[in-house]
């Protein structure tokens, strides 16, 4: 696992990615953020998400030709981007966990 200081947004992106890349998800996301956004993974903010999703779509296309799978992945990531911050608590901004609504059906 990549050592990343606590960042809930980062964790959510990794959680979604884990459904596709399993144990490699953490390393994959950390690499995309570092290489393409040129920031530390723990500094990932909501404003970076759109750009990150674009890079993730491109990177995923290198790994599979299954467009349906890529679309599903991207739409799950976009769900994270659309979520508005929940009530403020002492722990700072919180995000609802994302679970895929539509199970992936391979054609």
């Amino acid at each position: 696992m990549v050592a990343v200081a606590s960042n809930q947004l980062y964790d959510q992106v990794v959680d979604v990615t884990r459904e596709y890349l399993g144990p490699a998800a953490d390393r994959f996301i950390a690499r995309q953020i570092t290489n393409h956004l040129q920031i530390a993974p723990e500094d990932l903010a909501n404003a970076d998400l759109r750009k990150l999703i674009d890079w993730l779509k491109l990177s995923m296309a290198f790994l599979t030709n299954d467009e349906l799978l890529i679309e599903r992945y991207i739409s799950e990531l976009k769900t994270i981007a659309r979520i508005k911050p929940a009530r403020k608590s002492s722990g700072g901004t919180r995000y609802k966990p994302v679970r895929s609504a539509v199970p992936y059906i391979k054609k």
């Binding site: 459904e19 596709y20 890349l21 399993g22 490699a24 994959f28 790994l63 799978l69």
Partner: protein, 303 residues
């Protein structure tokens, strides 16, 4: 061994093997028995060596890809286990040409001095055993670490099935060795050049042990594969684990058949050789699957 280095090693071993094949004069006794000329005998050897070298190349390619992948993930939780499996595969792969080269040298030594026959037979038998034995121990340690990461246990039906397979293999193998040892036309000393108790304790037992841990390792790979998440990761890993499973199982079956060949020599030797070559071909398919799976996994770690 990084990148191209492994292919240089392969090329060097192939040159040594071919060099020995052409430089060592054919055994006159063998030529007389089969009515062959020295040139015909050399061409016959080449016809056996070419598919053999292709199989070695597939094995080296599979190992090279697995090695590249394991280097990328060595600091991850599953990294250590994959590195151990890779080291096991390296010994298995290097053992293929090394054992063949050693066999050539020993055969020539026995040809030069007949009094060395017993010593060369014994060394050759242990050389055939030692590489896969060490390799299987490492692969098994790696697969065990993998299932420990996922806190998996053997299902009861799987343990029973493995024990049943193990019992059949052990009894079958022991039967062939002992049957030949007490047959009229040969005795254990003429094949192994050692007393029976030593053959049983230092050859039969290690072979059976090695095959058993090989089967367990193949099953553990399958078990780990069934527990991992990630649609793309799992797909690539299942190709890799299927490849390793094929390599392990074919290696076991080939060893089983080749070690009992003297005992089976009443059957057609051509039939046995065909089966062994079909299995070796299957083994190279296994190594190609390992390479393909490792390449896909490597891509996930590099993009």
């Amino acid at each position: 061994m990084r990148g191209r280095k492994i292919y240089y090693v392969y090329a060097a071993l192939v040159v040594i093997y071919l060099g020995l094949m052409f430089l060592i004069p054919p055994d006159p006794a063998v030529l007389k028995r089969y009515g062959l000329s020295a040139t015909a005998s050399r061409w016959l050897n080449v016809s056996v060596a070419v598919p053999l070298m292709a199989i070695w190349l597939a094995a080296f390619y599979g190992y090279a890809k697995l090695r590249s992948y394991s280097r990328l993930i060595r600091s991850s939780p599953e990294g250590r286990a994959v590195v151990t499996i890779t080291n096991g595969v390296m010994i298995l792969v290097l053992g293929l040409p090394l054992a063949a080269i050693l066999r050539q040298i020993l055969k020539y030594a026995a040809q030069l001095d007949n009094s060395l026959m017993a010593a060369t037979t014994i060394i050759s038998n242990y050389a055939n055993l030692i590489f896969p034995l060490v390799a299987f121990i490492l692969i098994s340690a790696g697969t065990r670490s993998l299932i420990e990461i996922k806190k998996q246990r053997f299902p009861r039906y799987a343990s029973h099935a493995l024990i049943a397979i193990f019992a059949v293999i052990s009894v079958g193998y022991s039967y062939f060795v002992l049957h030949y040892a007490f047959s009229d036309d040969a005795n254990v000393d003429s094949v192994y050049k050692m007393p029976l108790w030593l053959v049983l304790m230092t050859l039969v037992v290690p072979y059976i042990y090695m095959w058993f841990i090989g089967f367990i390792a193949a099953y553990e790979m399958y078990l780990y594969n069934s527990a991992i998440k990630g649609i793309l990761y799992r797909k690539s890993w299942s190709v890799l684990s299927a490849g390793l499973g094929v390599v392990i199982i074919t290696q076991v079956v080939v060893q089983y058949l080749t070690t009992i060949t003297p005992q089976l020599n009443r059957l057609s030797i051509t039939a046995i050789l065909l089966v062994v070559y079909a299995l070796l071909l299957l083994m190279s398919v296994g190594y190609i699957l390992v390479a393909y799976g490792a390449k896909k996994l490597q891509k996930i770690e590099e993009v």
